[in-house]
Symmetry: C2
């Protein structure tokens, strides 16, 4: 697991980027890692906007406290989690699984019904929080995949979700913005955080062994 | 980023494990990856129980629907997220950062005050959900680190949080169980999921490019 550890050591939440662009292969690699990310029941309950357009970034910046990475990044990912884990969405997923695994049409019906019942009994807010947690697994995966290729990232919670949702009309799509991830390259000269020591709680403090 | 992609391709949510134990180095490597995981503001708002004791696992199994991996795993990680992002916890973290980065004592006071105000304005449930999302980044990191070393994992949401919280007296520590992760080795002969095709939503469906 040396590569993962090295990637985690190398990365940091980059505050300033150089505006250098990712190559197509680099971008697709990161998107592939997100696509492959583990999620509960495999539902992948999110949509991810891949924003390269400068005009769109300029709309986002003011509702994200004008963090410079919004404009200095090569691409900005917007993680939008499902606000409803609807029967439709569950059916669509199980139809795909049934087809790709050559199962009989109703092989997964009971499983799908259990999920529908489970999510049907949750508030919309609880469904969104559940979906957001799955999106955060993908957020972390993307940071590791990027770092392995020496691509920098900035995960951001500092934005006004309602405003982002408005810009992209997320509400009507039963989506809610949950995190941003800037992709790009660190500007060592202008980013004081590029050279500071990484601080982590000690393992004695973080883990309890039983 | 080939290694990350290979790890993601190799892994699956393992349903049956062989009871083979991880080596000390393997376990420490996975814990190191969790320790290094990115979290919002670096707060690492969780405690992780590393359960190897068979008697303790036997207490957990019935409140986790007797999923066989609980007992067949080498170690079971219990991710317990903070239910309160208290001023104390924030101060402890910023004290550590201040010391390790050799900053002047009050260099980060304004930053810490902003966080205290922010979390102080959130409900306990919202604080727990926020902390849980950070724990899910760590959950995903652990799966990637493990897979790189051909160690299997099973992320599990199928358990009764209140019962796990009771077993470990989490409530009095302002913790709440949010996810389990079994670590071990796949039992290919007994796990029908070991050989099925991985299914993922298409990139056209998952990403919107702007």
């Amino acid at each position: 697991m040396e590569t993962t550890i090295e990637s985690l050591e190398w990365r940091y939440a980059t505050k300033r980027m150089t505006e250098k662009k990712l190559s197509d292969d680099q971008l697709e690699g990161i998107l592939n890692s997100i696509q492959l990310t583990a999620t509960s029941n495999g539902l992948q309950p999110f949509t991810i906007l891949v924003v390269e357009d400068e005009q769109v970034k300029r709309k986002i910046a003011p509702v994200a406290f004008n963090q410079p990475q919004i404009l200095e990044s090569s691409h900005l990912l917007i993680f939008a989690a499902w606000t409803k884990i609807s029967p439709d969405r569950i059916d669509t997923y199980f139809k795909q699984v049934t087809e790709e695994r050559n199962l009989t049409p109703n092989a997964l019906s009971d499983y799908a019904d259990r999920l529908k019942k489970n999510f049907g009994g949750m508030t919309s807010e609880a469904q969104f929080q559940w979906a957001s947690k799955q999106a955060y697994i993908a957020l972390g995966t993307a940071m590791i995949a990027a770092a392995e290729a020496k691509i920098d990232t900035t995960p951001m919670e500092g934005f006004i979700p309602e405003k982002i949702d408005e810009i992209f009309d997320f509400k009507s799509q039963n989506l809610g913005s949950t995190a941003l991830l800037a992709l790009g390259f660190r500007d060592i000269e202008n980013d004081p955080m590029a050279s500071v020591k990484k601080v982590r709680r000690s393992k004695e403090n973080l883990f309890i062994r039983i």
